[in-house]
């Protein structure tokens, strides 16, 4: 169909191709030998240039918006630049020593543990519902949709929804009062409670993605495996342990890496909900504040480099531990 649409300009070459250019006939023509008459695509210079013409724009964007910033960032991290003035001084590793010696700068990483714990909860919940919904249930698609939908919602909207949810006399307090748990609790008032609450929001928001990933992996298991297992008298748990668990390992390891790098670079929810107040600031919020509020571009760059390095190391460790068969670029 598509073939008939191609422009067939008055073409002198290749009489054998005319009757029917099927794949079989073309196969031998792919060899490197120069064609008679030397059609333009075969000359060497054109062929080497063509892919670069296609890659010109993509590579330009990639380099401009990913590699140049990373390079600059590393360079800024050794200066005391404020992001505005034309001059900047080389200060060596001063910014880095500052990060690692001023405990209050490094302490924000502690907040990440709340979100890391939340991701564990999130993965467990997702795994449970993926297993349950991989079987035929009534309203299966409805439940699937409900569980996944939060992942699609705008982060700012989620922030407001849960600000109201945790408000004094808000949704949560009202629900708790049904169960007789009265006392109005300022959920976002103390550091511990605020961080726990927002980690809970992150569970609410991201469980859906993990769930759909797990469900996809479980559903790609051929049904005969379960039948064979049932014939052999395997219990539900044994089926999970020996059939489902091994087949979702790649997706599980992906979820773990997303969880770790995600909890290190939490930004949206706490920034929108508390602005980083009451010790809910995360490393990224702190970095953004250094860069765009206090004009400490040098220090902020050093923070960003540290975070980037941590994430690269974590990814590298994960790749070593679980050789990922999914990464097949070629």
């Amino acid at each position: 169909m598509t073939r008939s649409r191609t422009v067939s300009t008055a073409s002198p070459p290749a009489p054998p191709a005319e009757p029917g250019p099927t794949g079989k006939q073309n196969a031998p023509r792919r060899s490197r030998q120069p064609a008679r008459g030397g059609a333009p695509w075969r000359d060497r210079p054109m062929r080497t240039i063509t892919p670069w013409l296609f890659l010109l724009a993509p590579l330009a964007l990639l380099v401009t918006f990913t590699y140049v910033p990373v390079g600059n960032m590393i360079y800024y991290s050794f200066t005391d630049w404020d992001g505005v003035s034309p001059d900047r001084d080389y200060v060596g590793t001063k910014n880095y020593t500052e990060i690692f010696t001023r405990p209050e700068l490094f302490r924000v990483f502690a907040v990440s543990f709340y979100y890391l714990a939340a991701s564990v909860v999130q993965i467990v919940i997702a795994l449970y519902f993926a297993t349950v919904l991989s079987f035929d249930l009534r309203f299966r698609n409805l439940f699937k949709g409900i569980l996944f939908f939060p992942y699609l919602i705008n982060g700012v909207a989620i922030g407001f929804v849960f600000l109201y949810f945790f408000q004094d006399g808000g949704t949560l307090d009202s629900v708790l009062s049904w169960f007789g748990v009265g006392a109005d609790h300022a959920w976002l008032g103390s550091p511990e409670s605020a961080n726990t609450s927002m980690a809970g929001v992150s569970v609410w928001r991201f469980t859906g993605l993990n769930f759909v990933l797990f469900l996809g992996a479980i559903q790609s298991i051929p049904g005969e495996l379960y039948e064979a297992a049932q014939l052999d008298g395997a219990s539900r748990w044994q089926q999970f342990r020996h059939i489902i668990a091994p087949s979702i390992r790649p997706v599980l390891s992906l979820s773990v890496i997303l969880a770790i790098s995600g909890s290190l670079s939490v930004f949206e929810i706490p920034y929108i909900m508390t602005g980083g107040a009451t010790e809910t600031s995360t490393f990224v919020i702190q970095t953004v504040k250094f860069a765009f509020q206090f004009n400490k571009t040098g220090l902020a760059s050093a923070c960003a480099v540290v975070l980037l390095a941590i994430i690269l190391v974590v990814t590298w460790i994960q790749r070593r531990l679980v050789p990922d068969e999914k990464v097949d670029l070629v």
Partner: protein, 295 residues
């Protein structure tokens, strides 16, 4: 490739046979857990919807968040959110950014995939490594320096800043196209070559039309993530009339203070388009995001 197989409604017909032998005790508990989870997901959203229909008086009279609104047709808060909250401008800006960044991503991603899959050239490995390594760099950290690059182009406070950033950093789209393009037989290219088509014609007339399912996936994922993105418009478009749905909603915080009825209406207005898209394109969305995350 996974897209085409998974898009069929029942990929595993054998499964139905096997599920008939469900243990009955667990079933009730299973449904209970599903209903509980659904309640947890829906309750916060439903309450925001209820609040958006209330008046300021109803909210402050201490009836609690779960009380039903007096007038179910009270849409005045939506009108306020639209006019005073500048959501109409925001909608226009978001649409503008979506249009250009999605088109750009599709063209750039498919061109890259075509070049990488269909040509052998020097430094091909290096080029692929560049794209691969870029996936590991969390964009949120590099904004400190990206900001300076964007600023030096004079794009700060313009809608082109997010458009370029969304176009330039979407590696997931390239992977989706790359996976798909491998399934298109090379014999099609060869046949067109013999008819005298050059590489660009082949890309435009053969590869691109055949990529339609992959394009649909990329458009959906890219559309939703762009619509939801907060950080980039927040950073690069602080000007009042350059709000997107995210940043315009974020600005509700100041002027509306404790006016939760207006904030709720704004949040509902931001969520509704996503809900509509989700209801109509469910299947593609599941596949798309699963593919996007696993690359």
């Amino acid at each position: 490739m996974t897209l085409t197989t998974a898009a069929r409604p029942h990929p595993h017909p054998q499964k139905q046979k096997q599920t008939r032998r469900r243990p009955r005790v667990g079933t009730t508990l299973t449904y209970l857990s599903l209903i509980a989870a659904s309640a947890v997901v829906l309750l916060p959203l439903v309450v925001i919807f209820l609040t958006s229909l209330k008046s300021y008086g109803e909210i402050s009279d201490g009836q609690g968040a779960l009380a039903l609104p007096d007038d179910w047709l009270n849409f005045s808060n939506y009108a306020t959110a639209f006019t005073d909250g500048h959501l109409l401008t925001a909608f226009g800006n978001t649409a503008f950014i979506l249009l250009f960044s999605i088109t750009g991503t599709v063209i750039i991603g498919s061109m890259t995939a075509y070049a990488i899959d269909r040509f052998d050239f020097r430094f091909k490995k290096l080029v692929m490594a560049l794209f691969l390594i870029a996936t590991l760099v969390p964009a949120v950290t590099t904004q400190v320096a990206t900001f300076q690059v964007v600023n030096s182009f004079g794009l700060f406070n313009s809608r082109w800043a997010p458009i370029l950033l969304y176009m330039g950093t979407d590696i997931v789209a390239i992977y989706i196209f790359l996976q798909f393009i491998r399934g298109i037989p090379r014999s099609l290219d060869e046949a067109a070559r013999l008819d005298g088509a050059n590489s660009f014609t082949i890309y435009r007339k053969i590869i691109f039309p055949l990529l339609k399912p992959a394009i649909a996936t990329v458009v959906i994922i890219k559309g939703i993530t762009t619509y939801n993105d907060f950080y980039i418009p927040f950073l690069y478009m602080p000007s009042e009339d350059l709000g997107t749905m995210s940043t315009a909603l974020f600005r509700f915080k100041g002027p509306f203070g404790a006016h939760w009825e207006n904030i709720s209406a704004g949040a509902v207005l931001v969520i509704v388009p996503t809900l509509v898209i989700f209801l109509f394109l469910q299947r593609y969305i599941y596949n798309g995001f699963a593919q996007g995350a696993t690359k």
